[in-house]
Symmetry: C2
Subunit: 151 residues, 2 copies
Protein backbone atom coordinates (compact mmCIF):
# COMPACT_ATOMS: atom_id res chain seq x y z
CA UNK A 1 0.00 0.00 0.00
CA UNK A 2 1.58 3.25 -1.09
CA UNK A 3 0.33 6.36 0.62
CA UNK A 4 1.22 9.84 -0.48
CA UNK A 5 1.38 11.65 2.82
CA UNK A 6 1.04 15.00 1.17
CA UNK A 7 -2.19 15.10 -0.75
CA UNK A 8 -3.97 11.77 -0.97
CA UNK A 9 -6.23 10.01 1.46
CA UNK A 10 -7.95 6.80 0.47
CA UNK A 11 -10.97 6.46 2.73
CA UNK A 12 -11.34 2.75 2.03
CA UNK A 13 -7.88 2.26 3.53
CA UNK A 14 -8.37 4.77 6.31
CA UNK A 15 -9.25 2.91 9.45
CA UNK A 16 -11.14 5.47 11.54
CA UNK A 17 -13.44 5.85 8.56
CA UNK A 18 -13.91 2.37 7.19
CA UNK A 19 -13.86 0.60 10.52
CA UNK A 20 -16.53 2.93 11.84
CA UNK A 21 -18.71 2.16 8.84
CA UNK A 22 -18.31 -1.58 9.21
CA UNK A 23 -18.79 -1.54 12.96
CA UNK A 24 -21.95 0.54 12.57
CA UNK A 25 -23.38 -1.90 10.08
CA UNK A 26 -22.55 -4.87 12.27
CA UNK A 27 -23.97 -3.36 15.39
CA UNK A 28 -27.10 -2.30 13.57
CA UNK A 29 -27.71 -5.64 11.93
CA UNK A 30 -26.94 -7.67 15.02
CA UNK A 31 -28.93 -5.46 17.35
CA UNK A 32 -32.07 -6.23 15.37
CA UNK A 33 -31.80 -9.69 16.87
CA UNK A 34 -32.33 -8.50 20.42
CA UNK A 35 -33.93 -5.08 20.22
CA UNK A 36 -37.52 -5.96 19.40
CA UNK A 37 -37.46 -9.58 20.47
CA UNK A 38 -36.07 -8.93 23.93
CA UNK A 39 -36.71 -5.20 24.21
CA UNK A 40 -33.12 -4.30 25.01
CA UNK A 41 -31.23 -1.19 24.00
CA UNK A 42 -27.62 -1.48 22.94
CA UNK A 43 -26.23 -0.29 26.31
CA UNK A 44 -28.54 -2.67 28.16
CA UNK A 45 -27.38 -5.60 26.05
CA UNK A 46 -23.75 -4.66 26.54
CA UNK A 47 -24.19 -4.58 30.30
CA UNK A 48 -25.91 -7.94 30.38
CA UNK A 49 -23.26 -9.52 28.17
CA UNK A 50 -20.46 -8.19 30.35
CA UNK A 51 -22.04 -9.27 33.60
CA UNK A 52 -22.65 -12.71 32.12
CA UNK A 53 -19.07 -13.10 31.00
CA UNK A 54 -17.21 -11.43 33.85
CA UNK A 55 -19.60 -11.71 36.79
CA UNK A 56 -20.29 -9.15 39.51
CA UNK A 57 -19.09 -5.65 38.62
CA UNK A 58 -19.67 -2.05 39.59
CA UNK A 59 -21.13 0.53 37.22
CA UNK A 60 -17.73 2.17 36.93
CA UNK A 61 -16.14 -1.09 35.86
CA UNK A 62 -18.84 -1.56 33.26
CA UNK A 63 -18.12 1.93 31.92
CA UNK A 64 -14.48 1.06 31.48
CA UNK A 65 -15.03 -2.41 30.09
CA UNK A 66 -17.58 -1.41 27.48
CA UNK A 67 -16.46 2.16 26.84
CA UNK A 68 -19.77 3.66 27.76
CA UNK A 69 -20.45 6.98 29.38
CA UNK A 70 -21.30 6.92 33.09
CA UNK A 71 -24.68 8.54 32.40
CA UNK A 72 -25.53 5.94 29.79
CA UNK A 73 -24.59 3.13 32.15
CA UNK A 74 -26.44 4.73 35.04
CA UNK A 75 -29.66 4.88 33.01
CA UNK A 76 -29.32 1.40 31.57
CA UNK A 77 -28.63 -0.07 35.00
CA UNK A 78 -31.64 1.70 36.46
CA UNK A 79 -33.88 0.24 33.82
CA UNK A 80 -32.43 -3.26 34.10
CA UNK A 81 -32.99 -3.10 37.86
CA UNK A 82 -36.65 -2.19 37.51
CA UNK A 83 -37.06 -5.04 35.05
CA UNK A 84 -35.37 -7.38 37.54
CA UNK A 85 -32.81 -8.49 34.99
CA UNK A 86 -29.93 -7.51 37.25
CA UNK A 87 -29.40 -7.32 40.98
CA UNK A 88 -27.58 -4.66 42.99
CA UNK A 89 -25.79 -5.75 46.14
CA UNK A 90 -24.12 -3.44 48.60
CA UNK A 91 -20.37 -3.40 48.23
CA UNK A 92 -18.66 -3.99 51.56
CA UNK A 93 -15.52 -2.31 50.29
CA UNK A 94 -17.17 0.82 48.92
CA UNK A 95 -20.66 1.91 49.78
CA UNK A 96 -20.82 4.23 46.76
CA UNK A 97 -20.31 1.44 44.27
CA UNK A 98 -22.93 -1.29 44.30
CA UNK A 99 -22.02 -4.68 42.94
CA UNK A 100 -24.20 -5.55 39.98
CA UNK A 101 -24.88 -9.03 38.70
CA UNK A 102 -27.39 -10.88 36.56
CA UNK A 103 -30.57 -12.12 38.17
CA UNK A 104 -32.01 -15.51 37.29
CA UNK A 105 -34.22 -13.81 34.69
CA UNK A 106 -31.26 -11.88 33.37
CA UNK A 107 -29.29 -15.06 33.01
CA UNK A 108 -32.17 -16.75 31.26
CA UNK A 109 -32.43 -13.84 28.85
CA UNK A 110 -28.72 -13.96 28.17
CA UNK A 111 -28.88 -17.68 27.51
CA UNK A 112 -31.50 -17.06 24.89
CA UNK A 113 -29.45 -14.47 23.09
CA UNK A 114 -26.09 -16.25 23.12
CA UNK A 115 -26.90 -18.89 20.51
CA UNK A 116 -28.41 -16.23 18.26
CA UNK A 117 -25.26 -14.17 18.61
CA UNK A 118 -22.98 -17.08 17.84
CA UNK A 119 -25.06 -18.08 14.85
CA UNK A 120 -25.06 -14.53 13.60
CA UNK A 121 -21.31 -14.23 13.81
CA UNK A 122 -20.83 -17.64 12.22
CA UNK A 123 -22.74 -16.33 9.23
CA UNK A 124 -20.73 -13.16 9.15
CA UNK A 125 -17.37 -14.92 9.08
CA UNK A 126 -18.48 -17.79 6.85
CA UNK A 127 -16.43 -16.37 3.98
CA UNK A 128 -13.21 -16.62 6.01
CA UNK A 129 -11.18 -19.68 6.81
CA UNK A 130 -10.28 -20.20 10.44
CA UNK A 131 -6.68 -19.14 9.94
CA UNK A 132 -7.77 -15.87 8.38
CA UNK A 133 -10.21 -15.19 11.18
CA UNK A 134 -7.61 -15.93 13.81
CA UNK A 135 -5.17 -13.61 12.11
CA UNK A 136 -7.80 -10.89 11.89
CA UNK A 137 -8.63 -11.10 15.59
CA UNK A 138 -4.96 -10.98 16.36
CA UNK A 139 -4.42 -7.81 14.36
CA UNK A 140 -7.50 -6.28 15.91
CA UNK A 141 -6.12 -6.79 19.37
CA UNK A 142 -2.81 -5.25 18.37
CA UNK A 143 -4.66 -2.19 17.15
CA UNK A 144 -6.67 -2.11 20.33
CA UNK A 145 -3.52 -2.26 22.43
CA UNK A 146 -2.00 0.56 20.46
CA UNK A 147 -5.07 2.73 21.00
CA UNK A 148 -5.08 2.05 24.71
CA UNK A 149 -1.42 2.88 25.03
CA UNK A 150 -1.85 6.34 23.59
CA UNK A 151 -4.71 7.27 25.91
Amino acid sequence: MTTDNQTTLDLKQFLPYSLTNIAMQMSEQFSELYQQQFDLTVPQWRIIANLAQYGERTAKELCDMAQMDKSTVSRAVKSLLTRNLIIAKENPEDKRANLLSLSVEGNRLHEQIVPLANEWQAGLVSDLDSQELKQFMNTLSKLSNHLNKSV
Copy 2:
Protein backbone atom coordinates in the same frame (compact mmCIF):
# COMPACT_ATOMS: atom_id res chain seq x y z
CA MET B 1 -11.64 -20.73 17.68
CA THR B 2 -14.09 -23.03 19.40
CA THR B 3 -17.44 -21.55 20.19
CA ASP B 4 -20.04 -23.21 22.30
CA ASN B 5 -23.18 -22.11 20.55
CA GLN B 6 -25.31 -22.94 23.52
CA THR B 7 -24.17 -20.95 26.50
CA THR B 8 -20.93 -19.07 25.98
CA LEU B 9 -20.23 -15.77 24.33
CA ASP B 10 -16.74 -14.30 24.43
CA LEU B 11 -17.12 -10.57 23.91
CA LYS B 12 -13.49 -10.11 22.94
CA GLN B 13 -14.12 -12.42 20.01
CA PHE B 14 -17.54 -11.06 19.20
CA LEU B 15 -17.21 -8.64 16.35
CA PRO B 16 -20.23 -6.35 16.75
CA TYR B 17 -18.97 -5.69 20.24
CA SER B 18 -15.22 -5.47 19.94
CA LEU B 19 -15.16 -3.79 16.57
CA THR B 20 -17.53 -1.12 17.80
CA ASN B 21 -15.25 -0.45 20.75
CA ILE B 22 -12.16 -0.18 18.63
CA ALA B 23 -13.83 1.93 15.96
CA MET B 24 -15.15 4.31 18.60
CA GLN B 25 -11.72 4.75 20.09
CA MET B 26 -10.18 5.35 16.69
CA SER B 27 -12.77 7.82 15.61
CA GLU B 28 -12.55 9.66 18.91
CA GLN B 29 -8.78 9.86 18.94
CA PHE B 30 -8.46 10.81 15.32
CA SER B 31 -11.25 13.36 15.40
CA GLU B 32 -9.34 15.33 18.01
CA LEU B 33 -6.98 16.19 15.17
CA TYR B 34 -9.58 18.11 13.19
CA GLN B 35 -12.34 19.03 15.62
CA GLN B 36 -10.83 21.95 17.48
CA GLN B 37 -8.10 22.83 15.02
CA PHE B 38 -10.39 23.06 11.99
CA ASP B 39 -13.75 23.30 13.73
CA LEU B 40 -15.29 20.36 11.92
CA THR B 41 -17.81 17.87 13.22
CA VAL B 42 -17.46 14.22 12.29
CA PRO B 43 -20.18 14.36 9.59
CA GLN B 44 -18.65 17.51 8.13
CA TRP B 45 -15.24 15.89 7.93
CA ARG B 46 -16.69 12.78 6.32
CA ILE B 47 -18.41 14.85 3.65
CA ILE B 48 -15.28 16.81 2.88
CA ALA B 49 -13.17 13.67 2.67
CA ASN B 50 -15.63 12.00 0.32
CA LEU B 51 -15.97 14.98 -1.96
CA ALA B 52 -12.19 15.28 -2.07
CA GLN B 53 -11.72 11.65 -3.01
CA TYR B 54 -14.69 11.10 -5.29
CA GLY B 55 -15.52 14.56 -6.61
CA GLU B 56 -18.93 16.08 -7.25
CA ARG B 57 -21.76 14.18 -5.53
CA THR B 58 -25.33 14.72 -4.40
CA ALA B 59 -26.39 14.63 -0.75
CA LYS B 60 -28.08 11.30 -1.33
CA GLU B 61 -24.89 9.81 -2.69
CA LEU B 62 -23.00 11.09 0.34
CA CYS B 63 -25.58 9.44 2.61
CA ASP B 64 -25.01 6.11 0.91
CA MET B 65 -21.24 6.40 0.68
CA ALA B 66 -20.67 7.35 4.29
CA GLN B 67 -23.67 5.66 5.87
CA MET B 68 -25.05 8.83 7.33
CA ASP B 69 -28.65 9.76 7.89
CA LYS B 70 -30.18 12.18 5.40
CA SER B 71 -30.93 14.68 8.15
CA THR B 72 -27.37 14.57 9.39
CA VAL B 73 -26.03 15.12 5.89
CA SER B 74 -28.54 17.87 5.20
CA ARG B 75 -27.42 19.80 8.27
CA ALA B 76 -23.71 19.25 7.69
CA VAL B 77 -24.04 20.36 4.06
CA LYS B 78 -25.93 23.47 5.08
CA SER B 79 -23.20 24.44 7.49
CA LEU B 80 -20.38 23.70 5.04
CA LEU B 81 -22.16 25.85 2.46
CA THR B 82 -22.43 28.84 4.78
CA ARG B 83 -18.75 28.42 5.59
CA ASN B 84 -17.98 28.33 1.87
CA LEU B 85 -16.12 25.06 2.20
CA ILE B 86 -18.32 23.40 -0.41
CA ILE B 87 -20.24 24.58 -3.46
CA ALA B 88 -23.70 23.56 -4.63
CA LYS B 89 -24.34 23.51 -8.34
CA GLU B 90 -27.72 22.89 -9.93
CA ASN B 91 -27.99 19.39 -11.31
CA PRO B 92 -29.17 19.47 -14.94
CA GLU B 93 -30.49 15.95 -14.60
CA ASP B 94 -32.42 16.44 -11.38
CA LYS B 95 -33.36 19.79 -9.93
CA ARG B 96 -34.01 18.25 -6.51
CA ALA B 97 -30.49 16.96 -6.11
CA ASN B 98 -27.79 19.63 -6.20
CA LEU B 99 -24.27 18.62 -7.10
CA LEU B 100 -21.91 19.30 -4.23
CA SER B 101 -18.17 19.75 -4.50
CA LEU B 102 -15.29 21.24 -2.55
CA SER B 103 -14.58 24.93 -2.91
CA VAL B 104 -11.03 26.21 -3.12
CA GLU B 105 -11.12 26.81 0.62
CA GLY B 106 -12.56 23.36 1.20
CA ASN B 107 -9.79 21.83 -0.81
CA ARG B 108 -7.20 23.81 1.07
CA LEU B 109 -8.64 22.62 4.35
CA HIS B 110 -8.62 19.04 3.16
CA GLU B 111 -5.03 19.31 2.06
CA GLN B 112 -4.10 20.41 5.55
CA ILE B 113 -5.82 17.47 7.17
CA VAL B 114 -4.61 14.71 4.83
CA PRO B 115 -1.00 14.59 6.02
CA LEU B 116 -2.18 14.60 9.64
CA ALA B 117 -4.51 11.71 8.86
CA ASN B 118 -1.82 9.70 7.14
CA GLU B 119 0.63 10.31 9.92
CA TRP B 120 -1.95 9.33 12.48
CA GLN B 121 -2.71 6.07 10.76
CA ALA B 122 0.97 5.35 10.23
CA GLY B 123 1.38 5.55 14.00
CA LEU B 124 -1.61 3.34 14.55
CA VAL B 125 -0.38 0.55 12.33
CA SER B 126 3.26 0.87 13.25
CA ASP B 127 3.10 -2.40 15.17
CA LEU B 128 2.06 -4.30 12.05
CA ASP B 129 4.19 -5.35 9.13
CA SER B 130 2.90 -4.48 5.70
CA GLN B 131 1.79 -8.02 4.92
CA GLU B 132 -0.27 -8.16 8.08
CA LEU B 133 -1.86 -4.82 7.33
CA LYS B 134 -2.70 -5.85 3.81
CA GLN B 135 -4.25 -9.06 5.05
CA PHE B 136 -6.25 -7.15 7.63
CA MET B 137 -7.65 -4.75 5.05
CA ASN B 138 -8.51 -7.66 2.86
CA THR B 139 -10.46 -9.42 5.58
CA LEU B 140 -12.18 -6.18 6.46
CA SER B 141 -13.44 -5.78 2.95
CA LYS B 142 -14.72 -9.35 2.91
CA LEU B 143 -16.68 -8.62 6.06
CA SER B 144 -17.97 -5.43 4.54
CA ASN B 145 -19.13 -7.26 1.45
CA HIS B 146 -20.90 -9.83 3.54
CA LEU B 147 -22.73 -7.13 5.49
CA ASN B 148 -23.81 -5.37 2.33
CA LYS B 149 -25.09 -8.56 0.80
CA SER B 150 -27.45 -9.27 3.65
CA VAL B 151 -29.02 -5.79 3.59
